[in-house]
Symmetry: C2
Subunit: 767 residues, 2 copies
């Protein structure tokens, strides 16, 4: 843990007291989003201290050109960057002509931030003495509407404490912004028009290269003692426009400004109509008014929580942690737009670029599937189906043929945009996660229709890739896979990474199984797909050979599969023998040192045991867990959750809880000293998994929900819901007792600790 200034509270994230050192960190933690746009918790008024400005529009990116590996072929031409978008939140404030700037105020008292997760709003309040001795009390409330998702609303209330004062609001828009992260210091935005009309303003700007046209808009109104103030257009430059409201405010009285703003984008509208659509959105928002909009916001969030909340009693920090994770996942992706996906930083920062990693399939899908329903999960699968052609082209660039598909490591639009050879070209296990998600979807939802409709083509492309990617080793008389990077990115270009080999074998088997099934059960689809893919019998025969003769490195001595060839040649010093000063090794060690060390960034062999739990005995799991976990530094946010689930399965609740803490409050407590760069959104789904699959022991087997509930001794009880095939099952777990409830009108058979139980609507069943 690197910070502990966030106050424990079951429903809110709260900071009290002004600490300049925490500003960037809090800007991440108090970020808000509504799936369509997002906003770091930057101050509305000017702040001259250290800050990381970030306003983001879903799906709007810039392809920053890459320049690496100039003598290595196959790199993508660009690295898609999440873009800092024009600023719509800005409201400069002047008090008797003196700018309000918390960095230069004489004192800042009663500073408080609250992110109310239950209702979906963010509020900041303080009392500050300006250099001109005027003391000002302020309260600013902000939210991004879930109902009108192009609009955000801000209410700023100010009151002079110690004397009368002239207060000036200057709400503004600004497209002269920069990105923290740029390779070539390119200009990312081109502004084409700046307009003011009464109390509204509009900036039209498009991204360079990708040419996303946007209109950033605002409307501002100010009131004092029940009367509305006049808006004066203030300054207008090529990239900035502001309005001005001025009022002499009596000591103790309040003046307030309400600002609506946001973006209309050519992704959703005709580019020539952006200003018009912006006006319509502003009409809607202002007709409703701030309070009605906020009321709708509360109702919308209530609906989300109704389905996705996890309650924990007896441990308020754990309660806060899990809700923070669930809240952020919902701020990032709502499943409304199948062109969107779940970026690793969501709308809270720029790092990593791109929006879609294997995180989506490996970690996020189960969360959205169980808390939202099958149609959102379908959207996520469809996203990959829509990118299949690009995945085939991507594989072609690397020399693969015949419809082999390699999904990108990172993407915005289906094209690869990561640019390190050891990842882009070699971290190919990602392909397996795409196939596994299809399997997982069918297993959970019982809906097979995706496979004949779209999924089988994806599975065939993936199987073709693996079949071409392995080669037969005369020395081993087995198929081997050379030159890969596994999920543990602290190894590069290794041979026979067990996870990748296992995934390859499984993907081919799963494709074969589904080809067979669709041939038998969906003859029309079968004909169509075979025609489209040109799959031949000799091809599938070759696949079967790979399945039968795949090589898996194994240590007889340790009775474990080896993460890769040669793993045992390393200096096998366990993590607990490493000095604290050496960690995190990714900040302290050079890359070659990390590579030749035994240290594991995130679950690798164990990730395979997680996905394919049923293929191994609990004894085998234990052996592998005990062999690998001691070498695991968990420097990926995706690592602790898998270990937490497996520790729980092994009945090691204390260890499971330790891992859980690390994932659930990773950002709140800033374990990796980087929260100021943004939040770890995708790993938040892992936290959810830790409770649901770890403590709750939830599995779906043979079309049936199975639980084996346990509870950390630190908790009194916890409870979560699952949308299982359109019935909502709620489990509440206490020490020694779990109770179940079900909605709807049908009974549902489940298993608890291996015992069958029937749930009847309207009745609480205790096990």
């Amino acid at each position: 843990m690197n910070q502990d200034y966030i106050q424990a509270h079951p429903w809110s994230i709260i900071e009290q007291g002004f600490d300049k050192e925490q500003v960037k960190s809090s800007e991440s933690l108090f970020s808000i989003g509504n799936g369509a746009m997002g906003q770091r918790a930057n101050f509305e008024e000017h702040y001259s201290g250290e800050t990381f400005q970030g306003s983001y529009i879903a799906g709007v990116y810039y392809p920053d050109k890459t320049r690496v590996g100039w003598w290595k072929n196959g790199y993508p031409e660009y690295f898609a960057k999440v873009l800092n978008a024009p600023n719509w939140i800005g409201i400069n404030v002047f008090v008797d002509g003196m700018p309000l700037d918390l960095n230069t105020c004489k004192t800042v008292n009663d500073f408080k931030r609250e992110l109310n997760m239950k209702e979906g709003w963010y509020q900041r309040s303080f009392s500050a003495v300006l250099p001109n001795e005027v003391e000002i009390k302020a309260k600013i409330t902000r939210f991004l509407s879930l109902d009108i998702d192009e609009v955000g609303a801000i209410r700023m209330e100010l009151s002079p404490v110690n004397q009368d004062a002239e207060i000036t609001f200057e709400p503004y828009l600004d497209s002269g912004i920069t990105n923290e992260d740029t390779n070539w210091d390119d200009k990312f935005w081109n502004t084409t028009g700046v307009q003011v009309k009464n109390n509204r303003a509009f900036i039209e700007a498009h991204t360079m290269k990708t040419n996303f046209a946007t209109c950033t808009f605002m409307q501002a109104q100010a009131g004092y003692n029940g009367k509305e103030l006049d808006a004066h257009p203030d300054k207008k430059t090529d990239t900035r426009v502001s309005l001005q409201f001025k009022q002499n405010v009596a000591k103790g009285e309040h003046v307030s400004l309400t600002k609506y703003g946001g973006y209309t984008v050519s992704r959703n509208h005709d580019p020539s109509e952006l200003v018009k659509v912006a006006n319509t959105s502003l009409d809607k928002a202002s007709e409703l008014g701030f309070d009605a909009l906020l009321k709708m916001q509360k109702e919308a969030w209530a609906k989300i929580w109704e389905m996705s909340d996890i309650t924990i009693t007896g441990d308020v920090k754990a309660q806060q942690g899990i809700r923070f994770n669930i809240f952020q996942l919902n701020q990032t992706y709502l499943g409304r737009d199948s062109r969107l996906n779940i970026g690793p930083k969501g709308f809270t920062g720029e790092k990593y670029g791109g929006s879609t990693y294997w995180d989506t399939e490996a970690y996020c899908l189960p969360f959205y599937m169980a808390t939202k329903g099958p149609e959102v999960a379908w959207s996520l699968l469809e996203y990959r189906y829509n990118h299949l052609q690009k995945a085939i082209e991507n594989a072609q660039k690397l020399g693969f043929t015949n419809g082999a598909a390699l999904y990108p490591m990172v993407t915005m639009n289906g094209e690869e945009c990561h640019n390190e050879w050891e990842i882009t070209f070699e971290e190919i296990h990602r392909n397996g996660a795409i196939a596994f998600a299809i399997y997982n979807y069918v297993r959970f939802t019982g809906d097979y229709s995706y496979v004949p409709e779209m999924g089988l083509e994806v599975l065939i492309g993936i199987a073709r890739f693996w079949n071409q990617r392995v080669n037969f080793s005369e020395a081993k008389q087995k198929y081997v896979m050379l030159g890969v990077t596994g999920p543990n990115e602290y190894e590069n270009n290794v041979n026979n990474n067990w996870y990748s080999n296992y995934m390859a074998k499984w993907c081919i088997e799963y494709a074969l199984e589904n080809i067979e099934k669709i041939n038998n059960e969906y003859p029309e689809d079968y004909k169509r797909i075979m025609g489209k893919t040109n799959l031949s019998a000799s091809e599938t025969e070759a696949w079967k050979k790979v399945v039968d003769q795949m090589y898996f490195p194994y240590s007889e001595e340790h009775q474990v599969f080896l993460q890769q060839d040669g793993f045992l040649d390393k200096e096998l010093i366990k993590v607990d023998a490493l000095a604290k000063s050496e960690r995190p090794i990714n900040q302290k060690w050079s890359w070659d040192r990390i590579l030749r060390s035994p240290y594991i960034k995130q679950a690798d062999v164990l990730q395979g045991f997680y996905f394919f739990e049923d293929h191994f005995t609990e004894e085998e799991l234990e052996k592998h867990f005990d062999f690998y976990e001691p070498f695991t530094v968990h420097e990926s946010s995706l690592s602790p959750c898998v270990h937490s689930i497996q520790a729980a399965k092994l009945g090691r609740m204390e260890q499971a809880y330790t891992f859980y803490l690390r994932t659930s409050r990773l950002d709140l407590d800033d374990y990796n000293k980087e929260v100021e760069e943004g939040l770890h959104i995708t790993s938040m789904a892992g936290t959810w998994l830790s409770i649901v699959e770890g403590f709750g022991g939830l599995r779906v087997k043979d079309g049936e929900l199975q639980y084996s509930p346990q509870i950390p001794q630190e908790w009194e009880s916890y409870s979560f819901k699952i949308n299982f095939r359109n019935q909502i099952v709620t489990i509440t777990v206490e020490e020694g007792k779990s109770s179940f409830e079900i909605t709807g009108s049908n009974e549902l058979g489940i298993k608890v600790d291996g015992k069958s139980i029937t749930l009847v609507p309207g009745k609480v069943v205790t096990a």
Copy 2:
């Protein structure tokens, strides 16, 4: 071979006929240099066609900042670029006001380029019809003086063929130049002053960041019918200055312009005196005059050839090839300045950046040692001694301690400036070449004094590095070296690269041996060095363990050492089974495909057999050669020479000759389709080695020269000289007969095919 337009000639490189497609290629091939500066064969007059402008000043570079591997620690901050320097050669020409531009002329006849290697000058002549129908005959001669190495001279002679014409010369200087290769489109030069004085002009400019101050200067004079023309200052901008000479020239008459130009640099002079020093140089040059300077040039080159020429009779292309290589090596490095080194492209292009690779120690040192003498070789060793502290710091950045030294992969000033992790951090075998060069120097020169004076400190730093870089494998009960890139860069991050392991073991042994020797024979030096390095007995004990228990991968089946762990898992398809369309693989295949293929870029195991020939039997060499060569694509220019030497040793002269051809005319015939980017300077030393060590079978053993001469059947005879311990030994080889001569006053015992012979000055001995 990708081109064959260069005419065969024993002493000159000749192109006839104007082909726009060849311009960039010829700009490389006809480059001139004098060790202090260099110039691609760009036209003096404006050329609107495809061209690659390049003027280079030795030791002047720019640290282009890198942006790769943002999450991988230890990268250097910059990549030193060879810099295109301000243009001093430019002479624009106007004929009746119409610019002479070979790209737009109606016809270009009798176009000829000649690079006279014997005398060290370059000449271009042609007859061109301009768009205004005036036909102009031209002859331009250019050289960079070996005597006044800051000065180059150009004489341009023009004559109207078909009518009288007004001819205008505009000699100019221009610092508004760009680099082909830049990561960030930075501006590399800042111009601070532009001056004209009579017929002289000066541009003062310094490089950004590195702040090398330079004065680019010129003096021009023109003559017609014995009378000197007046110089008119023409235009002057912030980065350009020109003079103007105008003359009405009668049909058939000649007008000529002589231009002296070049650079004075703060590396050699007080930065405030650069213009003054430039004036002095111009005084010297112009007092001597063009013809006298050219005469001195011929004499200086005659001296170089006297010692370094290799003659071949019966094969003019081979003769031309070897002289081209020797000529370029001498154009690049003369051993006068121990701060300089031998850049892989010399003064002929920008590619690769930096100036010093392991090429210097592994390939170039023997050439300079044998054709120039021990003091030049000492200079090259001293260069590395001077960088020892930086090498220690470089190792520290990667986590090594206690004075371990890792020499950079690429450097200008001792700091690492390459930036690919698999090379920068892992291609550590380079350290071995530095140690081997010390061994080679002592072996060849018999001068041990370098070791106590400087070399032992270097050897200790290197041994320390290897000792820390290996680790003990419990599984193998041996020391292993994980995560390296060997000389074969088509493998990255492999374990137990045989060459690297062998080199490490040898380096430690060689250090131990020299510590012992210096302890016994140079007690004062021993004390000083031990004090400086803090070397302890326990440390050397640890080294001995590594020497005794180093692991070497070996295949019992094939009876060969394996290039690295797992080599036999590859799909072992030989190169001759690869389709032509797939090659060169570094242009056709993605990087991951290359990595998992068995294809070898350049000698790796065989490179070790080359360095440590005496450690292995000829039978072992044969086995390894026959195993590895069929997988070798020789896509490094450094590959064929080693194979040529080894094929010759195995008595396979036909194969040896084939490899020789590939190295000797690599650039002239453009085997790798890239000569337009510049020449492969360092590999030219490999060509020399192919003849001297390959065909001539020269070795130094037990302080004695040993030959085992053979001759390719395509040749009648060949001859080369060796400066062996200050006596010049000349060998002339014909079929079935070799004759030897020696200079000086002492006899010298040598071995020829194992038989001892005594050489007596003044007598030709035949064996």
